[in-house]
């Protein structure tokens, strides 16, 4: 009988718990999480926008832990890991759980830049966990002027939710356009307009540099780098995240910017693995799930090599405007850039040395999954450039006669 402990109940932690149970029906599995309830971070905006309740953003069955016979210790922060004695301490080191194999799935935390007052003010929130969403919900009940720092997917998620509820939302973005990592100027313009139509205001190419506070330290005005003052009731930080590594560092597990892992997702401590955002390998949900699965397989003794993920990929869906963005649209030097634009669609392909290196599609993104595969695997498309926007798997068609699945033929 082996004892498995997982720290974190996000995409990686939960996937690992399920995978371990699938491989080890009898062993003891414990999940310790700061979160009270399992929830999908990618659906927080559905809660904040009051489209769904808390059970509605759970991504597993309500009886997940009971059904799988997994111990869940919620609302607890792990304070220390004794990697010699193989014991995890939580609850102010008052409680402990021994382990044979341990998974760190501690995720990432939002980053607050060193702007005066921002790090101390009680009305500055992240938008990362359900606890953040609950705090924002509470603040929004008292004041509807919202200032959001950052217009990436997290910032826009929060903005879309609060615009829906009639908030007066201002977003400051350092880059000259919205969602700078995923868009080009045209696609960004489309999203900017649709947000503006819903009452959102953008301040582009500018950042916050100071703030005015009231007697309790709450920020009442954000002061921009050009001196402009924007009054607000509260602030949401969406200027990026950092892997949560403090626990690893405190426990002598090797970490610098992120927790270091090898190709089996093993950390520097024997029997300790890491998966998800805390490894710094990727920041998207599918990769966190894949890492949770691979780490759990290795923990269960099934040798699984985890191949480095391709992190440049995302989809977005705001107010019914959908976009798929894969690869690097910004690296155009020595590349050919093809654009296709109609009233309803905008597509862009970046091609270098006969290979697709970036692809963006705004509009109907049905059946677009193959573009990620082509980019990630550097598949030769030089003979297919004339129909680059109409490629289907039919262009690479192959069937595995044995099991009937498809295979790429290139």
């Amino acid at each position: 009988m082996e004892r498995f402990v997982i720290i974190g109940a996000g995409a990686a932690g939960i996937t690992a718990a399920q995978t371990l149970r699938d491989f080890r029906p009898e062993d003891v599995i414990t999940v310790i999480s700061t979160d009270e309830r399992v929830h999908s971070r990618c659906m927080l905006h559905k809660y904040l926008g009051h489209e769904r309740d808390i059970p509605g953003i759970n991504f597993v069955a309500p009886d997940f832990f009971e059904k799988n016979n997994i111990y869940h210790i919620p609302c607890q922060t792990v304070t220390k890991i004794d990697t010699q004695a193989k014991t995890v301490y939580y609850g102010g080191e008052g409680y402990s759980v021994p382990y044979d194999k341990l998974l760190l799935a501690t995720g990432s935390a939002y980053f607050v830049p060193p702007i005066p007052h921002f790090r101390e003010a009680p009305n500055v929130f992240g938008f990362r966990d359900l606890s953040d969403a609950l705090k924002i919900d509470d603040a929004f009940a008292r004041g509807k002027r919202v200032f959001i720092v950052g217009s990436g997917l997290v910032g826009l998620d929060a903005a879309s939710a609060l615009c829906r509820r009639g908030g007066a939302v201002t977003i400051a973005e350092m880059a000259p356009r919205v969602m700078p990592l995923q868009t080009d100027d045209y696609a960004a313009g489309v999203y900017q307009r649709v947000f503006e139509d819903h009452g959102c205001r953008f301040l582009l190419g500018i950042g916050a540099s100071d703030a005015a506070v009231d007697g309790e330290g709450n920020i009442t005005e954000v002061i921009l780098s050009d001196g402009q003052r924007v009054p607000c009731d509260f602030i949401i930080m969406a200027a990026g995240v950092r892997p949560r590594i403090q626990l690893a560092l405190d426990s002598g597990i090797k970490a610098e910017r992120a927790i270091e892992v090898d190709d089996h997702l093993r950390t520097s401590a024997p029997g300790v693995y890491a998966a998800g955002d805390c490894t710094g390998l990727s920041g998207v949900w599918p990769d966190a799930m894949a890492q949770g699965k691979a780490a759990a397989e290795n923990m269960a003794g099934v040798d699984t090599v985890y191949e480095k993920p391709y992190p440049f990929k995302n989809t977005s869906n705001f107010f019914g405007v959908t976009m798929l963005s894969v690869g690097r649209l910004d690296l155009t030097e020595g590349a050919e850039v093809l654009v296709h634009r109609t009233a309803r669609e905008y597509k862009k392909a970046v091609i270098k040395d006969g290979r697709l290196t970036g692809y963006l599609s705004l509009g109907d993104i049905s059946n677009h999954g193959l573009y990620l595969h082509l980019i990630k695997n550097g598949i030769d498309i030089s003979g297919k450039k004339d129909r680059i926007f109409r490629l289907t798997f039919g262009d690479f068609y192959g069937i595995n006669e044995k099991n009937g699945e498809y295979v790429y033929t290139v």
Binding site: N58, F59, T315, N317, G320, N367, G369, L370, I399, G404
Partner: protein
């Protein structure tokens, strides 16, 4: 578990399977009925309605033949492995990748992740569309029953 096996050499591109799929899922609700009843539905199928979507596609292979594109209900499904709402799940008993529209948050990670480009989006951008193996039909997938060339058939794997 079962899978729809494809013999592209037999496909002559008539797209009966595509129409049968649309008929089987008209009004976004799976339709019950016999093959004969489904044929009747074909006469009233509104092809100008963008919500009448097919879950399969037939594309030309550029050499006079055709490449049928059907969901494989993969052994290791990329779509379910990317789903952040729990809406897409691999049913380990039936082998099917099942979709629960109520759970879906329309993030379209599934669309991005399926390397074969199977998942589609709905016109309202609130759901995704993929093969459900016509679980509402006792006789099995409508596409298979409608294929005059027997280019697709359900087999045990």
């Amino acid at each position: 578990m079962k899978r729809i096996f494809i013999d592209p050499a037999k496909c002559d591109g008539c797209k009966s399977c595509t129409l049968a799929c649309m008929a089987s899922h008209q009004d976004m609700t799976p339709r019950r009925g016999t093959l004969e009843e489904l044929r009747q539905v074909l006469y009233t199928l509104d092809l100008t309605d963008p919500t009448v979507q097919s879950r399969n596609r037939i594309v030309s292979d550029g050499k006079g033949g055709y490449s049928p594109l059907f969901c494989r209900h993969c052994d290791v499904p990329d779509c379910a492995g990317a789903c952040m709402s729990g809406a897409l799940q691999k049913n380990l008993e039936t082998g099917l990748v099942e979709y629960s529209a109520d759970k879906c948050a329309a993030c379209y990670m599934c669309v991005m992740s399926c390397r074969y480009g199977v998942p589609a989006v709905t016109p309202d951008r609130e759901r995704m569309i993929k093969c459900d193996f016509c679980q509402h039909l006792e006789e099995g997938p409508a596409c298979v029953r409608s294929c005059p060339k027997k280019a697709i058939e359900v087999r045990e794997v």
